[in-house]
Amino acid sequence: MKIGLIGNPNVGKSLIFHQLTGIGVEVSNYPGTTVDLFSGTLCYRKERIDLVDLPGIYSLEGKSPEEEIVRNFITGEEVEGLVAVLDATHLERNLYLLLQVAEYKKPLVVVLNMMDEAEKRGIEIDREKLSSIIGTEVIPVTATQGKNVGEIIPAILFRSRTPDITIPYDLHIEAAIRTLVSVHGISRVVALQALQGMVDDPGIAESAGTLAREIEEVHRMSVQQIIAGNRHRCARVIAEKVIRKREEVTAGSLDTLLTSRVWGPVILCAVLAAILLSVFSIGSYLEEFLVGSFESLIVQPFLSLGLEPLPEQIGLAILLALQAGLGIAFPFIFTFYIFISILEDSGYLTRAAFLADSTMHRLGMHGQGIIPLILGFGCNVPAIMGLRLLRTRRERVIASFLVSMIPCSARTVIIAGIVAVFVGFGAALSIYVITFGLIILTGIVLSRITPGERYGMILELSPLRVPEPGNVLAKSWYRIREFLVIAMPLLVAASIVLGLLQYIGFFSLFAELVAPFSETILGLPGYAASALLFGILRKEMALETLVILSGTADLASVLTAGQIYVFAVVSVLFIPCISTIAVLVKVVGARITFLVSLYTLILGICIGALINILVV
């Protein structure tokens, strides 16, 4: 049995999905967290249920990709029921979508989520009345506390009903629907879509077009606007009937401060800078501690065993991989994820988008584009997935370039792990300055040369909330788990292979081959250039490979400060990692992915060479 979770963005669908299936999906406090279908199975009294988490939408009749995904899903044959999730604090607006969903005549259960916040605001909803108006069961839920979530599945299995509410449309629209239904034998829903120019069949489209033009002539409004107006009116009437107490929402003083003309932008910059600095200091503190204890407790005793050269080489390779992975990469990546999760759950990201709108216009996007850019600091992969939220291909193309250049936590590992430690704090920050400068320049140039249409920002601000520590930790854990189960084994395996290759002298051969190139252009020894290549697999592997190939975690003893700096700059800038390339292909296509890779490759080498000439 296939069931879909449908509703406006940011109403808690993914959280309910997670609680019902136990699958860790992204739950964040901004609209558009989920951009694709996500399905999971659960069993209830021997009944197997495929539950599908859908992207949040405002309408079933829009043209944006997520609206199309959801429309295709619910018109599919195999869907046997829908759980409509509504935000009890914004009932009227949420009813607008529910009324549209009701037109599709699928078995339905309505969930009123966020009951805790509704209560706090003194909103009382008459559930019986709502239930009798819509003609389905209405379940009050507080997903964060898991309250009543267990009722959803039995309700949809045994008590779901087809809603029996119909929206009274304007007389002309109703007449047009009747004409279309009787002439073409289509359903009411399809007739409505045809009037809004959404049906491909040329015959239907033509007669619907004629009718629509006549209606627009009389009303002097577009058919979409008339239909939307009718639905909003119907939603308001229902809301007025069922909401017993309604208080006027006022913007909190915190919100006023965060979005004020003067302080807003200052706070935005301060927040981002504070996050970077805290990750730096907390990460390096942990790193020092972990690497130090690892060295004295494990590596030194191992070396003093005095094994044969081959086992010693392999053993050392494994230990170095563990040391670099757990000791250097883990502290930075984990701290970063915690901060990003806090930011996502606080609701601040949408305010950042509002504040950054004019700046983002200069970079060829609109405010919403800043959300993937900020998420990119954690990891480029989910950030690029989030690009689907941008409405035009032009914006997605520009953003794909910029996001791929954002120093993600793996690149922070390189910057903080070697530059800050061996060269200096100022030098580490200067890499950020260089990267941001290049990102801005790239954005300005791309916004001039990229063809395509432009749209402005229409973005619902998510409510400000104190992030739940549980959700923050769980989310960071899911993300870091990916690092532990995928990256660490890869790292150890690669490390063993590297150790063997080094043992048989392969690397000195390869290093000799690339040495002339890397030494003249970048001023780096051959093995550092091989390490750079490994950075394409995973960014932090550039560092780990460098440690393995040079045979020590104390890089200052084998490389000069200038060399370390150039190494870091090049590995931060050049070619996104393999997983980023894979999602880029999915989101913007192979051609743009190729261009992004080529551009960053050239950029990395050029800037590296430039620094080598100028500074070193």
């Binding site: 829009g62 002097r220 606007q225 913007a251 979005t259 509002f354 920002m457 229409i458 619902e460 601000l461």
Partner: protein, 209 residues
């Protein structure tokens, strides 16, 4: 006959004369148009033959009455097109201006006049409500905390989301925040929605008493 390059010269000379109150010369005009001076001089000589202007000592361009009229006309077409593209079609100002530079040479006087009339008076319900008003109020023009009724939503195509969120003619909304560059947050149906300036300035509103 005047060419589009010729029209550009008349337009630039007119702008210099009327807006900046400076005497147009071949150099200044070439500077405005980012064109080669020799090319401008050659075009200007052609225009001189048509009686649009006279090239005086020191490359000064002296517009004739006919030349001035043609220049003003082109300026008007440019402004109308730019407003149409940005306010009604929702294009960004800069892009709209560039596009207007190309289109201004090809549209007829009648089309320009009709477009101007169309922009000045919005369609539909707005026509009745707005009659007799000199300036139209948009979302970008009101201070924070004002309650408003939406009169017309001028942007079409790609902006259905506005209607889905409840920003459509007849609905009441309130401006909650407004930034210096006119990005606004409006409260509609209890939800706060952030809008880019180009969208805010294409939503016509009236104050609620």
């Amino acid at each position: 006959m005047k060419t589009s390059a010729g029209e550009d010269i008349l337009e630039a000379a007119c702008l210099l004369l009327e807006k900046e109150k400076s005497i147009p010369t071949v150099r200044k005009v070439a500077g405005r148009l980012s064109e080669d001076e020799d090319r401008v001089r050659k075009e200007a000589l052609e225009l001189e033959k048509g009686g649009f202007l006279r090239l005086e000592e020191g490359d000064i361009i002296e517009l004739s009455e006919k030349g001035r009229e043609a220049g003003l006309r082109t300026i008007q077409k440019h402004t109308v097109l730019e407003r149409f593209l940005s306010e009604i079609l929702g294009m960004e100002r800069a892009a709209a201006s560039e596009e207007a530079c190309i289109l201004e040479h090809d549209i007829s006087d009648e089309t320009a006049d009709r477009l101007e009339g169309f922009i000045a008076v919005p369609r539909g319900r707005g026509r009745r409500l707005q009659r007799g008003r000199r300036r139209l109020l948009t979302l970008a023009d009101v201070p924070e905390g004002t309650d408003l009724r939406v009169v017309t939503v001028r942007c079409r195509g790609g902006y259905e989301r506005l209607a889905d969120l409840g920003i459509l003619p007849g609905e009441t909304i309130r401006v909650v925040h407004i930034l210096n560059h006119k990005a606004v947050v409006v409260r509609v149906k209890g939800c706060d929605v952030a809008l880019s300036p180009e969208i805010a300035s294409s939503i016509l509103v009236e104050r609620l008493q």
